[in-house]
Subunit: 159 residues, 2 copies
């Protein structure tokens, strides 16, 4: 397969959004995706871009993407968070995911960032095994907490 | 208690670092803090600041802080991550933590951000109970993954 890896552009955001929706389906959260193509363009390509994305292109089609942004560890310093690593179902098993993953890690390495973090579902054994085989570590005991827009609004009204 | 809440300045970073170290002790990771006061100043107060911090001041002393930065949810859009919420041991139980927490949530609300996220240790029941009482939700099944600097270097050398 002759796959091109490159930085995503505004015109890729429609394809990127389709991949985001495919992953949400896989994670049994089909209705959770509220982001729009326009928001991805506005947020990712403004003066201070909220994220960066690498895409994998094959025969003029986007078949995978890795979306990430900087975070800050008060223990280690500047770090990268890999928000999504997605390969279209029909193209899995061809090493596209590993190529995108390596691209993000290489970016972090070159920028001298101190950590790369991400989140994984505990039942996604294929992903967990892949990540640990590359030297990543699943943290023990740490839980992810979210306050969504509705709860935030309710909290602000009461406080 | 007459507590002043305000945005942290460069000159507060020594105090902020002490609080970071106090939290690392509590989390049984005393040796994990590699960040320095100079890095906090460089990273937090450059052209594109890597984080924002609110501090709680009492009698000219920094007794608490909340450090956060933007993240990007591919489901919801622009969001805030609360990296650390710390109150000095001797000042806990006086509502300082809640004040700082409310300040961060208010910031997120005013900026029309779509989510506030953070991480909590599962044995820190006081924190878990407080967060859920305010409308936050502990995610089921999501695990935090880290690749540290050493593993990143090892991975890049092999790939």
């Amino acid at each position: 397969m002759n796959i091109i890896l490159r930085e995503g552009e505004k015109s890729d955001m429609a394809s990127v959004l389709m991949l985001i929706k495919e992953l949400a389906d896989f994670e049994k959260e089909s209705n959770a995706v509220e982001v729009t193509e326009k928001e991805l363009i506005d947020d990712g390509f403004g003066t201070v871009p909220a994220f960066k994305v690498f895409v994998a292109e094959w025969q003029d089609e986007i078949i995978g993407m890795a979306l990430f942004y900087e975070r800050y560890s008060t223990w280690k310093g500047r770090s990268i968070h890999l928000e999504d690593l997605i390969v279209k179902k029909e193209h899995r098993g061809n090493g596209v995911g590993k190529k995108l993953y390596t691209e993000v890690l290489t970016y972090a390495y070159r920028q001298k960032l101190k950590r790369v973090s991400w989140e994984v579902l505990d039942w996604n054994k294929v992903a967990v095994d892949f990540y640990t085989s590359t030297g990543a570590r699943i943290l023990e005991g740490w839980q992810v907490v979210h306050m969504n827009e509705q709860s935030l609004e309710a909290f602000i009204e009461k406080n």
